[in-house]
Symmetry: C2
Subunit: 377 residues, 2 copies
C-alpha cells in the first residue's frame, strides 16, 4: 500500500491563526497528514487515528515500494485489516509540536526566520485537537465515524469526544488515561531534566548536527522502561549477559537489557528532536480531561455524545487498567454507550502496538457496530 | 543516645589485603562502623545491621546532643526498641565502596597519593560482606545472633547466610531480593548513564567542589520514584500544583511532585559521591545469590544453616513480594526455619524505613525467638 505524505497549512493571518490554551496564537500552522481509503459521498466513513508521544502521521503503508518499513500501525490499517481501507477513509495527522512535518519547536518562526526552539508556545492536547479540527474542515469531514488512538493518541480521542461532541460519532481511547498519575509526571520531569542538563542543549538553540544526544538518550531509555512490563523484560532479557561468560567488572554494557536500552536511546536521538520531546511530554502532563468539566471528570464526560470503546492492557503500569476503568465507570453512570475490554497481555504499555490480533478483532467489531448507528449531526 | 563514629583498618600488607571477586586485592581497607549496647561475655548477643544503597554506619543515636537528626534507623535501634540495646550489641558498618568513611572511590589510593576515582576496583556484595567478616573478627564476634538489613542491606544478610553459614545464627532480609530484575538493572543503567554523561564527571576525576551534580540529581530522582509507590505518590502529591492557581505553561516546577523530586535530587548531590553511586549500584546489579550455588538458588541457600525472617512490603515494586516469596519457597523446600511476612503498606520500597511499628514488632518477636536457640558454632 503506497501512501503520500501531505501537509495542510492554515493560519496565515491573525484571524485564521490557532488560539492556544496558553493564551498565545500560533500561525501559520502546518499539519502533516496521510490518508488511506476513500471518503464516501456522505462523508460518513472517516476515521481519525491519533498517534502516541513520538509517533508520526505515517501510520500505514510505504512511501515507495523500496521502503524498509511500513507505517507504525500497518498491521491494523489496510485493505481487509481492522481499519479496513476498502470501507473506511482513515486519516492520521502529526500532532502540533512534533518534529515530523507539523509545526513544532524545530519549525522556522516566520517572524524571525529562525527555528522557534524554546520560544515555541507550550502546547496542550486541546491545542493538538483544535489543529486537527481545522484539518477535518479542510478534508470535508464534519463528523468522524470514530476517533481512535493509543496513549497520547487516546488522550486526543477523549479530548475530541468532550470538546467537539457534535463531530464525534464514536471514540476509542486505547491504553490511555484521563490524566497522568504523579508517578508519570515524575518520569516526564526526570526525562526533561536529563535533556535540560545536557550542555549541548544550549537553551534549546542547539544545531541539528549537534543535538543534546546524551540527555535525550537518557530520557528515552528511562521512558522506554515504563513502556515495558516486568514480565516482558524477564521474558525478553532476564539477567542474560551479552556475549560473555561472566560479568566483566566494569560500567560498560554487561547485560542484554543494558544493550537493548542503549540501542533504544541511540536510535531515538537519530530520529527525534529534543525540543519536541520537551513540548510533547509537557502536553501529556498538562492533560486532565476533568478540566473540560470545571475539574469534574463526570461533568467533562457528560459533554460527550458518542459511543466509547475503551481498551486497556493488564500489564500496563504507565496508564493502568484502573485508570481506564475509572473512565468506564463514569461513562456508565452517565448512561453512555460503553464497550470496554482489558486485554490480557504481558507487553505493558507498548501492547497497543503489539497485540494487533486481539486489538484488531475488537476494533473491527466496534467499528462494524458504530457504522450502523452513524447519523449526521 | 550518643554514639561514636569508629573506623577499623586492615590490609596494610599484601597478605592481609582483601581479595575481591574481580580478581584484584584491595588494601589498606578502612571500614567505618558504629556500635550500640554491649557485647556480652559469651559474645552471643551481637547483631549486624546492614544499610541500604546510599546509607551509612550511622544507624541510630547522635554524635552530639545538638545534632539535628539521629541515625537512619533510630526508631528501630535503642534501649527498649526492637533492636534493644539493653540486650543486644548492635553493629552497623558502612559498606566497602561507599563515601561515608569506608574505603571507596573517593578514598586516597596510597600507591598514587590521589583518590582512586574510577581506578577503584568494581566491587560486589560478596566483597562488602568479606570486609564485614574482618570487622567481626576484630570485634570478637564469631557468630552473629542475627544479620539484618533492608534492600542492599538484605542482600548482604543473604550473602552472609550462604557464604559464612557458621557465623550466622539467623538472618533477616527485608525488602530485598536474591537478584535484581532486568527492570531494576535497567533503572541502574539509566541512572549511571546520566552521571557518566555529565561533562563535569570528567571520567570520575571531578573535584569535590565541582561534582557532576546534574547527572547525579537525575540519577537520584529516577531512583527515588522507584522507592515510592503509585498509591503513596497519589496520596502525597496527587496532581496538586505548587502555589499557583493554574499550570504556568512552562518547563519549570509546576506540580508538587516535581518540586519534591527536585529537592530530593539537589539534597542528594550535597551528601553523596557520584563515583560511589556508580560502584554501589553496580554491586547491586551483579548480586545474584544463585551464583553462590553454581547458578542454582536452592543450591546456594542449601549452604545456609541459619533461621530466616523474610519481610516484604505489599506495594514494593522494586524488590517485590514475589521475589521474597521465591526465597521463602526455596527455603521451605530445604526444610529451613523460615518466618515470613508481607507487610501491607502503601509506602513502596521505602516502607522498610517507614513502617517501623509493624516492622519493629516483627523484628522483636523474631529476635526474641532466635535468642533462645542461639548456640555457639
Amino acid at each position: 500500500m503506497i501512501v503520500k505524505a501531505q501537509t495542510y497549512t492554515f493560519g496565515h493571518t491573525s484571524d485564521d491563526a490557532l488560539p492556544l490554551r496558553c493564551g498565545r496564537k500560533l500561525g501559520p500552522v502546518s499539519i502533516a497528514y496521510e490518508t488511506w481509503g476513500t471518503l464516501n459521498p456522505e462523508a460518513s466513513n472517516a476515521i481519525l487515528v491519533c498517534h502516541a508521544l513520538t509517533g508520526s502521521a505515517h501510520a500505514a503503508g510505504k512511501y515507495e515500494e523500496s521502503d524498509k518499513k511500513p507505517g507504525w500501525w500497518d498491521d491494523m490499517i489496510g485493505p481487509g485489516k481492522a481499519f479496513d481501507t476498502d470501507r473506511f477513509f482513515i486519516v492520521c495527522s502529526n500532532v502540533l509540536g512534533s518534529c515530523y512535518g507539523s509545526t513544532g519547536p524545530a519549525s522556522i518562526n516566520p517572524a524571525t526566520g529562525k527555528a522557534y526552539a524554546m520560544s515555541f508556545p507550550v502546547i496542550t492536547v486541546a491545542d493538538m485537537v483544535n489543529a486537527q479540527v481545522r484539518l477535518a474542515d479542510f478534508l470535508g469531514v464534519k463528523k468522524w465515524l470514530s476517533v481512535v488512538g493509543g496513549s497520547l493518541g487516546g488522550m486526543q480521542a477523549l479530548q475530541w469526544a468532550v470538546a467537539h461532541p457534535e463531530r464525534v460519532h464514536s471514540c476509542m481511547p486505547i491504553a490511555t488515561t484521563a490524566r497522568l498519575s504523579p508517578q508519570a509526571i515524575g518520569w516526564d520531569w526526570v526525562g526533561r531534566e536529563a535533556i535540560l542538563s545536557d550542555p549541548k542543549f544550549l537553551g534549546g538553540e542547539y544545531s541539528k548536527e549537534a543535538p543534546p544526544e546524551r540527555g535525550l538518550a537518557v530520557a528515552r531509555m528511562l521512558a522506554h522502561i515504563t513502556y515495558l512490563s516486568d514480565a516482558s523484560m524477564n521474558e525478553k532479557f532476564g539477567r542474560r549477559l551479552q556475549q560473555m561468560s561472566d560479568v566483566n567488572y566494569s560500567f560498560d554494557l554487561n547485560y542484554q537489557v543494558e544493550s537493548y536500552l542503549n540501542h533504544q536511546g541511540l536510535s531515538f536521538v537519530g530520529r527525534y528532536d529534543a525540543n519536541a520531546y520537551l513540548y510533547i511530554t509537557r502536553a501529556t502532563d498538562y492533560f486532565d480531561l476533568a478540566s473540560e468539566g470545571g475539574g469534574e471528570l463526570s461533568a467533562a464526560l457528560a459533554k460527550s455524545r458518542c459511543a466509547f470503546g475503551i481498551i486497556s492492557f493488564s500489564s500496563d503500569w504507565l496508564f493502568t487498567p484502573a485508570q481506564s476503568e475509572e473512565l468506564v465507570a463514569a461513562l456508565l453512570r452517565l448512561k453512555r454507550e460503553v464497550f470496554h475490554c482489558d486485554i490480557q497481555s504481558d507487553y505493558g504499555h507498548d501492547a497497543f502496538l503489539l497485540e494487533v490480533e486481539t486489538l484488531g478483532s475488537l476494533v473491527r467489531g466496534f467499528l462494524s457496530n458504530q457504522e450502523r448507528s452513524f447519523r449526521h449531526g
